[in-house]
C-alpha cells in the first residue's frame, strides 16, 4: 500500500514538474520577471507593483506587443526578505527566457538579489528600492526609477521638518533594515546641516506590534515630531501607540508610509502625518492625471507612487527592448545609454535618466493625512 501511494505521488510530482517546464518553451513572448512581496506582511506593496505593471502590460499587449511579440510577466514572491529574494533572484537568473527583472521592492531584498543578477548578467530596474548603496552593488546592472534615500532623507530634514512644519526637535524611530537605516543616516546628516536637534533614535524590528517601550523612551525627551522611518504597517501602529501615550504633535515619514492602509490601520491617529512621495497625481502633468484615471478605472482604487513607478519601469523596459532587442546584454546597454535628459524616458512619473550607477534624480512631493485622507501638503 505504502509503495503504491509513494509511486503515485512520484508520478504526480513528475507530471507537475513537466507541466511547469513546458510553459517555458513558448518562445514567441518576451518574458520579464517581476519581484516583490506578493504575500506576507508587505503584500499590500506587492499588490501595488502588480497593479502598475499589469496596467502597462495590458496597454502594451493590447497595442500588439513589442515588435509583434507579446510581453509575459513572471511573478517572483520575495516576501521582502533577503533570504527569499536570493531564491527568487536565482530562479530568474537561471531562466534563460527571462530577459530583464522589475524589482525588487524592498531595498534589503534588492541588495540580496543583486550579486546573483550581476553574475547572471541580468538587467534589473527597481521601481521602489531607495537605499543609496545598491548602485555600487549593482555594478552597472542595476537601475532604479526612484530617488535615493540620500536625497529623500535630506529633503525631509531641510524642507519638511524645517520649512514646512517649522519644528526643531525630532525623535527618530526606525526599522532595522537597509531601507530605514540608510534613510535615518541621511536624515541625521540633513538635520545637522539644517540645525535641527535629534532628541533620540530608537530602532524596532519588522512585525513588532508593541512599540510602547521605545516610544516611552523617545517621548521622555519631549520631541516636537517623530520620524516614522520604516514601512506603513508598523508606522500606523506606532502612530496609534504614540497618541495613546499622549503625543499629539505632527508625525512624518518617507515613501514607505505611503499606503492607504496607513490610514485604515492608524485611523484617527494617522491624521497630521506628513510624508514624501515620488509621485503625486494631483501635482503631475496631464499624462500623470490620465494614468491616475486609467488606474482607478482598472483597479477601483486611487493610484499610489509604487504603482506609478512600476508602470513606468515596464514602459522603460518596453521602450528599450523595442529599440535595442530582447537580450539581457543589449537591454542593459540600452538602459545605460539613457544617461542624460535628452535621451531619457518621459513617463507618468516624469523624466527618467540614469547616472553611472543607475540612480535617477526625481523630485519628491509631500502629502499629508488630514481627516482620514491623503491631501497634498502645502506650506
Amino acid at each position: 500500500m505504502k509503495g503504491k501511494a509513494l509511486r503515485r505521488g512520484l508520478i504526480l510530482g513528475l507530471a507537475l514538474v513537466f507541466c511547469m517546464t513546458t510553459g517555458v518553451l513558448a518562445a514567441d513572448t518576451i518574458r520579464i520577471g517581476v519581484a516583490s512581496p506578493f504575500t506576507g506582511d508587505l503584500a499590500a506593496y506587492g499588490d501595488n507593483i502588480k497593479a502598475g505593471v499589469s496596467l502597462k502590460l495590458k496597454e502594451i499587449n493590447g497595442a500588439g506587443g513589442i515588435n509583434g511579440k507579446k510581453i509575459e510577466l513572471v511573478w517572483g514572491d520575495d516576501l521582502c526578505q533577503p533570504k527569499e529574494a536570493g531564491t527568487v533572484a536565482s530562479k530568474f537568473a537561471n531562466d534563460k527566457s527571462i530577459v530583464a527583472v522589475i524589482g525588487h521592492l524592498c531595498s534589503s531584498a534588492t541588495l540580496a538579489g543583486m550579486p546573483i543578477y550581476v553574475r547572471a548578467k541580468m538587467p534589473v530596474i527597481s521601481p521602489t528600492s531607495t537605499n543609496p548603496t545598491i548602485g555600487e552593488v549593482g555594478k552597472g546592472w542595476f537601475f532604479r526609477n526612484c530617488y535615493t534615500d540620500d536625497f529623500q532623507g535630506k529633503y525631509l530634514a531641510s524642507y519638511v521638518v524645517k520649512d514646512l512644519l517649522g519644528l526643531k526637535r525630532v525623535a527618530i524611530f526606525y526599522e532595522n533594515n537597509d531601507y530605514a537605516i540608510g534613510l535615518k543616516d541621511s536624515f541625521t546628516a540633513g538635520a545637522q546641516a539644517a540645525g535641527l536637534a535629534v532628541t533620540g533614535a530608537e530602532a524596532y524590528v519588522a512585525k513588532t506590534t508593541d512599540f510602547t517601550p521605545q516610544l516611552t523612551k523617545l517621548l521622555k525627551d519631549k520631541p516636537d515630531t517623530i520620524f516614522l522611518c520604516g514601512y506603513h504597517p508598523e508606522g500606523a501602529l506606532i502612530a496609534g501607540q504614540a497618541r495613546k501615550l499622549g503625543f499629539n504633535g505632527p508625525l512624518f515619514g518617507a515613501d514607505g508610509l505611503d499606503n492607504i492602509d496607513y490610514i485604515k490601520i492608524g485611523g484617527e491617529a494617522a491624521n497630521n502625518t506628513y510624508m514624501t512621495v515620488p509621485f503625486l497625481a494631483a501635482a503631475g502633468g496631464p499624462a500623470a492625471k490620465q494614468f491616475a484615471d486609467n488606474f482607478k478605472a482598472e483597479t477601483g482604487r486611487e493610484v499610489d507612487w509604487m504603482s506609478a513607478n512600476a508602470y513606468d519601469c515596464l514602459a522603460i523596459l518596453a521602450d528599450v527592448i523595442a529599440k535595442a532587442g530582447e537580450d539581457r546584454e543589449k537591454i542593459r546597454a540600452g538602459l545605460a545609454a539613457m544617461s542624460s535628459a535628452e535621451n531619457g524616458f518621459d513617463g507618468v512619473t516624469g523624466l527618467t535618466y540614469f547616472n553611472e550607477v543607475g540612480d535617477c534624480s526625481k523630485p519628491a512631493f509631500v502629502k499629508k493625512v488630514e481627516g482620514g485622507e491623503f491631501v497634498t501638503a502645502e506650506k
Partner: protein
C-alpha cells in the same frame, strides 16, 4: 519612565501569560508543544473582527463568541490533527503541530487576505480611550480592561483546575494517563476539553492584542506564539502558575530591556532571559524536573 515601562510590560506580559497558559495546559496533559496555539490566538482576533464588522455585534458579545470559537477551534485541532496520532511518537505530533500552524496561517490568508486590517475602533466601549495622566505615567481604560480580564481569567482557571471535577480529572490525566483511565476518567474527553479551555484563552488574548495594537494579520500568531512558548518554558512547562508568572516576567523584561538597554534587541532580551533561567533553573520557576525516559521520544 520606569512606571510607564512597568505598565507597558504588564500589559504585554498579561497577554503572553494568557497564551502561555494554553501551551502549558496542553503540554501538561499530552506532553505536546502545540505550536499551532499561536494560530488559535490569530483566529480569535479574526473571528471577533468578523463578528463585529459583518454581523454588527457589540464588543462584549463578540468577545464571548470569539472565545467560544477559539474553544471550538482548539477542539477541532485536537480532533483532526492530534487525536489520530495519540499513540505515535511525540516527534510526529510535534511536526504535525508545526504543519497545522503553517496550514492555519495560510488558510487565514486565503479567507481574510494578507493585508493587516485595523480593529473596528468604533465598536470598542468608550472608556477604552479614556486616559488618566499621573505624575510619571499615563494609563488608559484599555490597559485596565486587559489587566482585569487577565486577572479574572487566571483566577477562574486556577479555580477550574483546583476546585472542579474536570480540574481534578485534568490533573489526574497529567499525572498518569493509564491510571486515570483505569480510575474511570474519560481521558480523550479531558484532553479535548483542555484544548477547548486553552483555545478560548488564546482567542481572548488574540482579540485583546488585535484591539489594543489595532492590527490583525494572518501571521500575527507566530511571534506571539513563540514568545508565549518562551514564557511557558520560563515558568516551567506544564505548570499553570508558572506560565502566568513567566508571561508577566517576560513582558516586563522586554519593556525594561527595550527601555533601558537597546530597543533593537528587545526580542533578544526576552529569549536571553529565558536562556539564563533555563541554565540556572532548568525546570523553570515552578516546573518539576522529570528524568527523560527512553520511551518519551
Amino acid at each position: 519612565m520606569f512606571t510607564q515601562q512597568l505598565v507597558n510590560g504588564l500589559t504585554i506580559g498579561g497577554i503572553y501569560a494568557l497564551i502561555a497558559v494554553g501551551y502549558t495546559m496542553v503540554y501538561g496533559v499530552i506532553q505536546l508543544i502545540n505550536f499551532a496555539h499561536g494560530e488559535i490566538y490569530m483566529l480569535g482576533a479574526f473571528f471577533s473582527v468578523t463578528f463585529i464588522i459583518i454581523l454588527g455585534m457589540p464588543f462584549y458579545l463578540a468577545f464571548v463568541l470569539a472565545m467560544v470559537c477559539g474553544a471550538v477551534c482548539g477542539m477541532l485541532l485536537d480532533r483532526i490533527a492530534y487525536k489520530p496520532l495519540r499513540q505515535s511518537p511525540r516527534l510526529a505530533c510535534l511536526i504535525t503541530a508545526i504543519g497545522m500552524s503553517i496550514f492555519l496561517q495560510n488558510l487565514a490568508m486565503l479567507i481574510w487576505g494578507s493585508r493587516p486590517r485595523p480593529f473596528p475602533s468604533t465598536a470598542l466601549p468608550a472608556y477604552f480611550n479614556k486616559t488618566w495622566h499621573f505624575e510619571s505615567f499615563s494609563i488608559t481604560g484599555f490597559h485596565l480592561f486587559i489587566f482585569s480580564i487577565t486577572i479574572i481569567m487566571m483566577v477562574g482557571l486556577n479555580l477550574l483546575i483546583k476546585k472542579t471535577r474536570f480540574g481534578k480529572a485534568m490533573r489526574a490525566v497529567a499525572q498518569n494517563k493509564t491510571m486515570a483511565a483505569l480510575a474511570g476518567i474519560n481521558v480523550n474527553r479531558v484532553i479535548t476539553l483542555t484544548f477547548a479551555v486553552a483555545g478560548a484563552m488564546g482567542a481572548a488574548a488574540g482579540l485583546m492584542v488585535g484591539a489594543y495594537y489595532n492590527s490583525i494579520y494572518p501571521t500575527m500568531g507566530y511571534l506571539a506564539g513563540v514568545k508565549a512558548f518562551a514564557a511557558a518554558v520560563l515558568g516551567g512547562i506544564g505548570s499553570v502558575p508558572g506560565a502566568m508568572l513567566g508571561g508577566i516576567v517576560l513582558g516586563i523584561a522586554e519593556a525594561m530591556g527595550a527601555g533601558y538597554l537597546s530597543s533593537l534587541y528587545r526580542d533578544g532580551i526576552s529569549y536571553a532571559v529565558m536562556i539564563i533561567v533555563i541554565i540556572f533553573i532548568p525546570a523553570g520557576f515552578f516546573g518539576v524536573l522529570i528524568k527523560e525516559t527512553k520511551k518519551s521520544i
